[in-house]
Structures are given as structure tokens and as C-alpha cells.
């Protein structure tokens, strides 16, 4: 970092509102050439909005942008590109039906009428060689892995001459190993004089790889510091604010469960985990749900054998998966997002048909059963995209509560909805699960993410399900809501429900689960008891190394 230089980019007093929501309020940000600058904050803190303003996707309601010493109005992405500001979005902006070369050339300025494919491909090879970014220019993007797609995105930026590169949560889709090599590449680019901005919510990664860190909270800048001065306590305070910390500590003290510890060092964490392995059963044992021994929680509730399934495009997504879950057990599924987690959760829940294999729930064959039968058999499902699949955003709180039970005797008589009963139930759930809905008749799309997820959980666990499939249940939630969700899951498991818990955060899996299976490219790389494994081993399995199952 070169402090003596003027910042290449300055954002001053940026404000942006969407309807009644303020996404950015009076935000200042300075970025220097040659540095990796991290924007840290929770989901919804306004990081992405700020960067979308910088790249001209959104227009700010107020504030100024200074670039290379001049005040600039960035009205469109085109303006940003012309200035040399480019962004790799969290959802890649690639066109699957075009080749890598075509995707890159959509972005760069050689305005010839006809396409010269040979020249295009040659230029891309040169560019990828310079920063060690391996890609195949003639391949179609839909053929590429996520990591490769990310490299194409970076090459796109370099090829169009970007001086400021912005990456939105770049490590979210990568294995730990891939993420490290990606940061090495970013370092190379910073060393060559470019400014790199990385949006992240992972403190460890940011402290390790960034030069400076800016923390955003609720649309405001909480703190800015050199990475050398950052520590977990200071960052946490910035991210979540002071208010929630005592609450967290209190829970930690009163209820010594593994999930409560703030996690800092993966290695240390894993060790502690194994030390405290025996402790994990204590709450369950206290309630008499478990049978003493840790690995045997109860009888086997769910069993799937050699199950394969296809994804939405008709390509194989799950290959010969065999696993079982016991009553009272939380079974974690780790893996980089997009390696079959979605399909696995849908297959277990009954939403996706199997192409082969069989599924048993308490001995009953559900391999060919309909979704309705799965629901009746007591399988609850918290889907990955809760707002699109799990809820109907345009419908009311009450209607979402009865989404699965609208045909029950309580909700309908001879096909006619019993609105009073429905309202009573909705009211009861809202109280029991502390859901702030703003009105039982308002569309749930207007509720906050945390309350939406609580609503979803309230409905799903209401019938005391035998099996709960939860895919990324706390993703994007604020800390308070995430904690109540985890609490619900633990309560359910203590009650005797079998839980399948899918997450991409290893810390969370180690804190929550009894056993963990690792998915890579649709295959189950292995299953481990939590106390017998560590981050390194799981990380290797995530990147596709198969290890002997004990």
C-alpha cells in the first residue's frame, strides 16, 4: 500500500435508497492503486449496492465519485468501463450459450463487423498467461466449472483494461484451496499497479489477504483500518455493532453448546471440537432423547442408497449417493456451492425425482412417492431459495403459514377455507416464534429475511416432522435471526428429529453437526464424525480428494 499517493478512487457522501429502504447513507470510501481493499459487512449492509453505484448499475441519490483526481458522473456501466472500473458480480454475468472468447469480446472495444475467432482466442491466451489464469477460449461457458467461470470474469475485466477491479464475494463459490490461488492472482494484479476491491463477509480471509479493510453496517461506514491493525474483536464490533455482543455471550455462558462460540482459527477450532466431543450429547441426554453414546443418537430415520438424480438441465447432478441419518442427529453436508447440494436437498425432500437408487424413511420406501406423500410422511424442507420456493412472496403471512396444510380439517371444510382458524394459527405461530410480520394480511415479500426464514421454520416444524432438510438456513440472515434459527434446529434435533443440514460455512457445520458428508461434483466424497476430522481434511474432500471412509 502506498499511502503517499493520492487515492485512485474516492467515493464521498454516497447515499442510495430503494423505496423506503436506505441501502447506503453518507458513505465515504478511498481506494489506492496497488492495494487489495476489502469491504466487510453482513449481507444487506450495503456493500453490493455501493459497488453497483460505482459501476453505474445504480445511480446514487446523493454524493460524489472522484476518480484519478477528477469528479466523475458514472451514469451507466459503460461509463465505468470507459474509466477502467470493472466488477465481477456474485452471480456471474456470463452468457452460457456463448464461448469464453465471445464472452470476453462482448466487453472489449474492437468494433469489427465480423467476428475474427482466431485472433480473439489468441489474445485471450496471452492475457491468461500473464496472470496465470487458466481458461480455454473456445469452450462454451455452460461447459465450465464455477472456478473457471470466475477466471473468465476476471479476464474480461483485464481485457477491457480495468484499473480498478471489484470482486463480490469471490471466495463464496470456491474451495479453500481454490480461494487461496484466486487471492494469489489478485495479489499479482495489485502488484502490477491495479486497485482491487473485494467484498466479503469472512473476517479471516479479509485479514489474511487484504491491505486495508472498510467495514459497512446498515448502509454506513463503521470503521476503516489497515489490515495490520485489524483483529477479530474490532471487526466483529464493526460488523454487528456493540449491541448484539453481550447477548451472544450470555447465551454462550448459560447454554454451553458448541454452536455458540465465535470461531476464529479453524485449526484451533477443530481441536477444541474434538476435545469437547463428549459434551455435545449432554443437552440431548438430559432430555432423554439420545441413548448415551454420541455417534448413536437414535434409530435410523432416513436412509438413501445409491441415489442418482439429474439437475434442471437434464445433466447428472447426483451420483450414487448413500447416506443415513438417525433420530436426533444433525447430519451436515459440506461442499462448495453448486456441487449437487440443491439437488440432494430436493431429492431428500421429494421435490426432485431420482433416476436410480432408493430412499427409505423409517423403513418405508419413498423412492417414487410424490411431494405430497413426503410431506404427509413428516419430511420438512427448508429450501435454498426460501423466497422463491419455500414461500410465496406475494401472498400474506397467513396464507404462507397454511401453504402445506390448507387441506387439513382445521383449515378447510369441504373445500371451503376456514379463515378464522387460519388467522388464529398464524397469530399463534407469530407469537411462538417471535416473528415480526407487520400485519397478517401483508405480503411476506415485504418482511425482513430473518422473519421470512422464521416463518418458514414455524410452518415446517409445526407438525413435529421426523426429518428436517435445511439448505443454507442462515445464509444472508443477521446474527440474531441466524441464532434463533440454529436454536430451533437444535431443539428439533433434541426432540428426536433427524436433521440434514447443508451449509458452505465449515465453522457452522463443525459447530452444529454430529457427522458431516462432503459433496463434490455430485459425489459424496466421504462421511466423518465431527470429532474425528478437521478443516484440512474436509477442505481436501471438498476439492475432490477421496479419502478412505473409516
Amino acid at each position: 500500500m502506498k499511502k503517499e499517493m493520492d487515492p485512485v478512487l474516492q467515493m464521498k457522501h454516497i447515499t442510495k435508497t430503494f423505496g423506503s429502504v436506505t441501502a447506503n447513507r453518507d458513505v465515504d470510501l478511498s481506494v489506492y492503486s496497488g492495494e487489495i481493499h476489502a469491504l466487510l459487512g453482513e449481507n444487506g449492509a450495503g456493500k453490493s449496492t455501493l459497488m453497483n453505484i460505482l459501476t453505474g448499475i445504480y445511480r446514487p441519490d446523493g454524493g460524489e465519485i472522484w476518480y484519478k483526481g477528477q469528479k466523475r458522473d458514472i451514469h451507466s456501466p459503460k461509463d465505468a468501463v470507459a474509466l477502467g472500473i470493472g466488477m465481477v458480480h456474485q452471480h456471474f454475468r456470463l452468457i452460457p450459450t456463448l464461448t469464453v472468447a465471445e464472452n470476453v469480446y462482448l466487453y472489449s472495444g474492437k468494433k469489427s463487423f465480423f467476428l475474427n475467432r482466431d485472433k480473439m482466442e489468441k489474445e485471450i491466451r496471452e492475457c491468461s498467461g500473464q496472470y496465470n489464469l487458466q481458461v480455454t477460449p473456445e469452450a462454451y461457458v455452460w461447459q465450465l466449472s464455477v472456478g473457471e467461470q470466475q477466471r473468465v470474469e476476471i479476464i474480461k475485466l483485464l481485457h477491457q483494461g480495468a484499473e480498478v477491479l471489484i470482486l463480490d464475494e469471490p471466495s463464496a463459490v470456491l474451495t479453500p484451496q481454490e480461494a487461496q490461488s484466486m487471492f494469489d492472482t489478485l495479489r499479482k494484479m495489485a502488484d502490477s499497479g491495479k486497485a482491487v476491491i473485494v467484498i466479503s463477509h469472512k473476517m479471516n480471509e479479509v485479514m489474511k489477504n487484504a491491505d486495508r479493510i472498510t467495514v459497512l453496517k446498515n448502509g454506513r461506514v463503521e470503521d476503516t483500518m489497515p489490515a495490520s491493525e485489524a483483529d477479530v474483536e474490532r471487526l466483529t464490533r464493526g460488523i454487528v455493532g456493540v449491541r448484539t455482543l453481550p447477548e451472544q455471550e450470555r447465551e454462550q455462558n448459560s447454554e454451553p453448546e458448541p454452536g455458540q462460540r465465535p470461531v476464529q482459527d479453524p485449526e484451533q477450532e477443530a481441536q477444541r471440537e474434538s476435545v469437547q466431543g463428549g459434551q455435545q450429547t449432554s443437552p440431548a441426554a438430559a432430555e432423554g432423547a439420545a441413548q448415551g453414546q454420541k455417534s448413536v443418537c437414535g434409530e435410523e430415520v432416513f436412509f438413501m442408497e445409491a441415489v442418482s438424480a439429474k439437475n434442471d438441465r437434464g445433466l447428472p447432478a447426483l451420483k450414487q449417493i448413500t447416506l443415513s441419518v438417525r433420530a436426533g442427529e444433525i447430519f451436515g453436508i459440506a461442499g462448495v456451492a453448486g456441487n449437487g447440494q440443491r439437488e440432494l436437498s430436493e431429492v431428500i425432500a421429494g421435490l426432485r425425482p431420482l433416476t436410480e437408487g432408493k430412499i427409505l424413511l423409517s423403513g418405508k420406501d419413498l423412492s417414487k412417492a410424490s411431494m405430497k406423500q413426503h410431506i404427509q410422511e413428516g419430511i420438512a424442507f427448508i429450501p435454498e431459495d426460501r423466497l422463491q420456493t419455500g414461500l410465496v412472496p406475494g401472498m400474506s403471512f397467513t396464507e404462507n403459514i397454511i401453504l402445506k396444510s390448507y387441506e387439513s380439517d382445521r383449515c378447510s371444510r369441504r373445500g371451503i377455507l376456514q379463515k378464522q382458524n387460519m388467522r388464529d394459527d398464524a397469530e399463534a405461530y407469530a407469537g411462538q416464534f417471535d416473528i415480526r410480520h407487520g400485519g397478517l394480511d401483508l405480503p411476506v415479500g415485504l418482511m425482513s429475511g430473518g422473519n421470512q426464514q422464521k416463518l418458514l421454520f414455524a410452518r415446517e416444524v409445526s407438525g413435529d416432522p421426523r426429518l428436517i432438510v435445511a439448505a443454507y438456513p442462515v445464509r444472508g440472515l443477521d446474527i440474531g435471526a441466524a441464532e434463533s434459527i440454529r436454536k430451533i434446529l437444535r431443539q428439533q434435533s433434541r426432540r428426536g428429529a433427524a436433521v440434514v443440514f447443508i451449509s458452505e460455512e465449515l465453522e457452522e457445520i463443525f459447530a452444529m453437526c454430529d457427522r458431516v458428508g462432503v459433496l463434490c461434483d455430485g459425489e459424496l466424497m466421504g462421511i466423518r464424525a465431527i470429532e474425528e476430522t478437521d478443516f484440512q481434511e474436509i477442505g481436501r474432500m471438498m476439492s475432490g480428494e477421496r479419502e478412505e471412509t473409516k
Partner: protein, 351 residues
């Protein structure tokens, strides 16, 4: 100045605005059509005055209702389908097949007591409409084939079927007009007292009320709404989208088929070549204008009936009767554009 204005998504839409916006844009449509009328040499004010005069009389009222009844039914049919995002533009063909089933049963079916016979006519016309829709509904439900194109193609096919029967085996003998003979008078639905309005109107109103109740108060209506808003969430909740698609499209066809029953049992008591006469397309405009609300469909259907009879009347002063279709199309275009102002508002940019 202009640069500082921009559109912003509204958080909510008030009831008044929801009603007022379409009304304003319908009026704008009439203004636009006025220019077109002037362009072909008519005096728009005179034309509109004549149209108003035609409608604003008792006989104008009854004839508007008569012309409006099939339109109400096609409007109900289209809005029922659209309540689950199914674009049934085949109401014309379903109406045709419904009327053919109805007249076929009335003329060539078994003799039975009048109430029973009328009930059976009611049912077979629904059956005809449902069958017409089924040909599109099955491929849609099973393989996801585009229902819009399918129902449209079926329109042409059923109109040819109708054409064949009207000019061929079912044609009334010794008549120039391509039509069937009238059904026996004892199978006619009575008029309401001496009002000159046929009691089939009550049937239509009953159906609209039933549909309203269906949408707002039943589990099936709930299921339809979930599927409309989010087919994925519906699957997730264990609903069968394919089954619902099949049933809803067929039911939509059955409602359109009832327009045939209304004509045969209530209004003209026979079937003529090209009886639907574009009622299916008018039904699309009606359904959309009515915001898919069955009760509002009745009102809008009546207004479009009035538009049609007044268009016939202005032929006398040299305006093509196609003016009705033109006004309908213009109204639809303007109201679609007007929707935007329900979703967005114009605000000044804050500096």
C-alpha cells in the same frame, strides 16, 4: 428540468388509483379513436353521440345485455385461465364447439322433459368447451407446450368444423343463411317477466358469483393462486401443477362453451355460421380490463355488449361496424400502457 424527473416503483397502489387509471386510459382510447374517425372523414362527436343514444334507451339496454352475455362468459373463461397464468385465447373455438354440442343435443338428442333437457344442454355445452380446451390442455400439462399457440390454432380448426356443419348436414333447409333450424320452443329459457331480458343472464351472474367465491374462499382457489404466483412454491407445497393446469384450462373452456348454451337456450335458439364472431378475443380484453375479477367481468362485458350494438347502429351513418373491434383494441392498448402508472410514480430526483 426533465432530466430531474424519474420513475420510482410504488410501494402500494390505492384502490381509487386502481380504478381511476384504467378509466382515464379508456377515455384516452376514445379520444385516440376520435382522431382515427376524423381521419377517415367521420365526425367523431357525431359518431359517439349516436352510439350513446343507441345505448341509452330501454331497448338499447336489453340488447346490450343480450350482446354482452356471450362476452361475459368468454371474459369469465379467459380470466379464469389467466388466474393461473394460462393464456387461453381459444375461447372462440371453445364457444363454437360448446354451441355445436348444445344444438346437436337439442335438435338430435333424445326427447325429455324441458327442465331436464335444458340441464343436459347446459352440461353438454360445457363438455364441448372443455373438450375443445383439453386438446390444448393435455400437451400443456404433460409436456409444457405453449398453450397460447395451441388454443389459437384450435380456434381455426373448430370454426372450420362449425363452418362444415352450418353449410352442410345441419343447415336449415330452404334457407339462404347458413344456420341450423331453431330448437323447440319448450326448450327455450324464459324471459324475466316482461323485461325482455332472458333468464340466462341469471345463470351467467350465478357463475360469476360462484367463480368469485371459488377464488376467494376455497382451497382450490388458494391452490390456483399459489400456482399463479409461484409454480415452484406450489410444487414444494405438494400441489400438482400439471393436474391443476389440465383442470383449469378445461374449466376455462367449459365456461366459454356455456356461451353456446346461452345463445341456443336463451338468445337466438339456434346456431349460425361464425357464431362466436370474435367473442373469444373480446373476452381477452374484458378479462384484462376487469382485472380478472369475475364480478367486474360482468360489468365490463355489458359495456362491451353496448359497444357492439352501438357500432352496428353507427353503420347507418356510414361508419364501418369494425369500429367496435378498433375501439376494443385501442382500449386494451391504452390500458396496458396505463398499468405502468399503477406500478410507478413520477418523482423529482433528489439532489
Amino acid at each position: 428540468m426533465i432530466r430531474n424527473l424519474r420513475f420510482r416503483k410504488r410501494d402500494s397502489v390505492s384502490m381509487a388509483r386502481r380504478i381511476l387509471t384504467p378509466v382515464i386510459f379508456v377515455l384516452l382510447a376514445f379520444v385516440f379513436c376520435g382522431f382515427l374517425l376524423a381521419a377517415v372523414g367521420s365526425n367523431p362527436l357525431a359518431v359517439y353521440a349516436r352510439m350513446m343514444k343507441t345505448v341509452c334507451s330501454y331497448s338499447g339496454l336489453t340488447r346490450s345485455i343480450e350482446a354482452g352475455i356471450p362476452l361475459m362468459l368468454t371474459g369469465l373463461a379467459v380470466s379464469f385461465g389467466y388466474r393461473m397464468n394460462l393464456n387461453n385465447i381459444g375461447a372462440d373455438g371453445q364457444y363454437a364447439l360448446g354451441s355445436l354440442f348444445c344444438i346437436g343435443f337439442a335438435l338430435y338428442g333424445p326427447v325429455m322433459p324441458a327442465p331436464l333437457k335444458i340441464l343436459c344442454m347446459f352440461l353438454v355445452s360445457m363438455l364441448g368447451g372443455a373438450l375443445a380446451a383439453l386438446i390444448a390442455a393435455f400437451p400443456k400439462a404433460k409436456w409444457g407446450v405453449n398453450e397460447t399457440i395451441l388454443t389459437m390454432m384450435l380456434n381455426y380448426i373448430f370454426l372450420y368444423v362449425m363452418d362444415f356443419l352450418m353449410y352442410g348436414p345441419w343447415k336449415e333447409r330452404n334457407q339462404m343463411v347458413a344456420q341450423t333450424r331453431a330448437i323447440r320452443e319448450k326448450y327455450w329459457l324464459p324471459d324475466l317477466g316482461s323485461s325482455g331480458i332472458n333468464s340466462v343472464l341469471l345463470v351467467v351472474i350465478a357463475i360469476a358469483v360462484l367463480l368469485y367465491f371459488f377464488h376467494t374462499r376455497t382451497t382450490w382457489g388458494f391452490e390456483m393462486e399459489v400456482i399463479r404466483q409461484s409454480p415452484r412454491a406450489a410444487q414444494y407445497a405438494g400441489m400438482s401443477v400439471a393436474k391443476a393446469t389440465l383442470l383449469v384450462l378445461c374449466a376455462s373452456g367449459a365456461i366459454a362453451g356455456l356461451a353456446g348454451f346461452a345463445q341456443v337456450a336463451g338468445i337466438i335458439h339456434r346456431v349460425q355460421a361464425n357464431l362466436p364472431n370474435g367473442a373469444g378475443y373480446t373476452g381477452i380484453v374484458i378479462a384484462f380490463l376487469a382485472g380478472l375479477n369475475p364480478l367486474v367481468v360482468l360489468l365490463v362485458g355489458f359495456l362491451f355488449g353496448a359497444l357492439q350494438i352501438s357500432a352496428v347502429a353507427v353503420q347507418l351513418i356510414g361508419v364501418p361496424s369494425q369500429v367496435a373491434t378498433m375501439i376494443q383494441g385501442t382500449i386494451m392498448l391504452f390500458v396496458v400502457a396505463g398499468e405502468f402508472f399503477n406500478r410507478y410514480e413520477l418523482v423529482g430526483r433528489k439532489k
